[in-house]
Symmetry: C2
Subunit: 363 residues, 2 copies
């Protein structure tokens, strides 16, 4: 058995969607599956994974435990993941037993910043200037190509600013690379953007495509703080962003929700910053401002169902609750918005504990 | 230990809300609790209760198993129920161990149509004319008082038209009473209403009150088919409906969501038909058309949290999926609305399997 499994028919109500990863994204995916009468089976290596609390079944196992992964697959009708930092070998293995989406290529692109940038550029889509930095000997050439200031990023396993350093010189770049303990890296031009935005879209098993209205995003300490929709993107830029996401999704033969993070430059260009092959924090506002959220849309796609209508009925501002902010839950509950808390048992600095979305009349 | 337990502080995130009953209402309550970072523990006598699939914990037990109820209560921080036909003794027992809302009086009123009508009338609120029918010997006097045609209803354990019969004469009433196998009944005037509506509202632990915009409801075979908001109620009638619900909630020292079912008569009067001491099918549209749904509002109330904003941002039409209609799930999923399926393992005639809500711009 080595072929990749494909869905031959939509997973019927009562069927089980397997989800690798049990954090807040897995949890909100499980809640969305429940709306549709589908069961969620969460696979996580954490004993108190937040998604376990809302799922019909869960498996606690390591991502390299082939026997556990196989047993998990046998209990699912279709499989997905909440996070791109699961080992691609796990997805490759699961794909042999049950239809698993997004596919291994999308995961690989999402896991490696160099592969991602190279792939996007090949599609004729703009990114910041970049150069591979596998070792210190690559640094001078990379700075010549990219310029300074720049950002040195590890190619793999980065999120929320982990594995990133702003550098102004070759010396700073050497020290940053040393702090990454030899992990292969990428030097990227420091884009002096006007603002950040993201385009969240879904591609169905039938090739259908549905994009949400792109939010404008504000980060602090490399963590998303706030998403606002509508953004300052012009109608032409929104059309361009949709087109970028559509071309990426089609080139990857993608099934599920993906997020394309964008820089809007001061001269009106859109540069792709990152591709996340999954539901995304900057799409959490879709839970309240759309009849079909990004989470339900992803479940629909990976279960082979028709995509839902991504129309936005309201304006929305989503703000993350990070670290100690979660201690103010009672004040936040009084604040008039829609409060979401993720069921995490411990507050830690920089940890995403929840979010609040406030709606207003559509403009 | 015989005092009734009261909440001294809101149940914090990570706490557990116990829910008696594991059908679709318990399921949607559990999903709402999860949004707030609260765990749900479902108690049900059904081995495949739909709410089990989405809850952190569940107990399968009978509603008169005192040891099981006590063990359940010990694992919860606050307790509620999804359905008024749980034995009031179970609620009375649970109330001694953990704060349980709505309270036993509200449950008793909601369980008994005679108590309910009598209670509402004492508040000076209008209902259809009615008379108790404990035995056949009461029938002639009841018909003299109420008139004919009329509806004979069992006092207790009725829902979705179970235990109801339209009667046109004393003979028909005798036969209807016989079909109820001696259960105490109530004869109600047959109201030739203009339309039906309902007012769904919540009262918080602090006495705060929040009402949703009342939907207009259409029944078929005694089962709710469709709820539409806004309704044909005038602004003055909406204010009256809110006031009716507020007075009922205050008189019961109510905590949680309640539904007041109303007849709007052709001459513009509002008659109270039923009080449901729980979330209600005619409020399912709040999941999409409000930032805070009736389910979250109920969890907020029973957990001692501040109530959320019940504002409606869109118009909505909710239609139930009943019995065999659920076989059309794929067509319904394509239909452009928000589809909810309840995870019931078997389709049965007249069984509520799911619902679809369609939104449109607010009017």
């Amino acid at each position: 058995m080595s072929d990749i499994q494909k869905l031959s028919a939509p997973v019927p109500p009562g069927g089980t969607i397997g989800i690798l990863g049990g954090g807040q994204l897995g949890r909100m995916l499980a809640l969305a599956a429940a709306r549709l009468g589908l069961k969620a089976h969460i696979y996580s290596n954490e004993s108190d994974a937040p998604a376990f609390q809302v799922s019909a079944a869960h498996t606690m196992g390591w991502y390299d435990d082939e026997a556990a992964l196989k047993a998990f697959a046998e209990q699912c009708d279709a499989i997905t993941f909440e996070f791109e930092n699961v080992p691609s070998e796990a997805i490759a293995l699961l794909s042999q037993f049950k239809p698993t989406n997004p596919n291994a290529k999308a995961l690989m692109i999402g896991q490696d910043r160099l592969e991602e940038k190279t792939f996007v550029r090949k599609l004729g889509i703009k990114t910041a200037e970049y150069a591979a930095v596998d070792s210190a000997s690559d640094i001078n050439l990379a700075i010549t190509k990219v310029g300074a200031p720049a950002i040195l990023k590890t190619r793999r396993l980065g999120y929320d600013g982990k594995g990133q350093a702003k550098v102004r010189s070759a010396d700073e770049t050497v020290r940053a690379l040393e702090s990454f303990k030899g992990a292969p890296a990428l030097l990227e031009d420091f884009v002096d953007f006007a603002f950040e935005a993201s385009l969240i879209a879904a591609r169905g098993l039938d090739g259908s495509f549905a994009a949400y209205d792109p939010p404008e995003n504000i980060h602090g300490d490399h963590i998303l703080r706030k998403s606002t929709v509508p953004s300052r993107l012009t109608p032409a830029q929104i059309a361009e962003a949709r087109n970028i996401a559509k071309r990426i999704a089609e080139a990857l033969d993608y099934v599920g929700v993906l997020c394309v993070e964008l820089f809007a430059t001061k001269d009106g260009a859109l540069l792709v910053n990152e591709i996340a092959p999954r539901v995304h924090n900057s799409g959490h506002w879709t839970l309240e401002a759309c009849a079909i959220s990004q989470f339900e849309q992803h479940i629909r796609a990976v279960a082979g169902w028709p995509l839902g209508d991504p129309a936005r009925h309201s304006n929305a501002v989503m703000e993350n609750i990070i670290g100690d902010d979660a201690a103010n839950w009672l004040k936040l509950a009084k604040g008039g918005g829609a409060l979401h808390l993720y069921g995490k048992s411990n507050i830690r600095k920089g940890r995403k504990m929840g979010h609040v979305t406030k709606l207003s009349a559509k403009s």
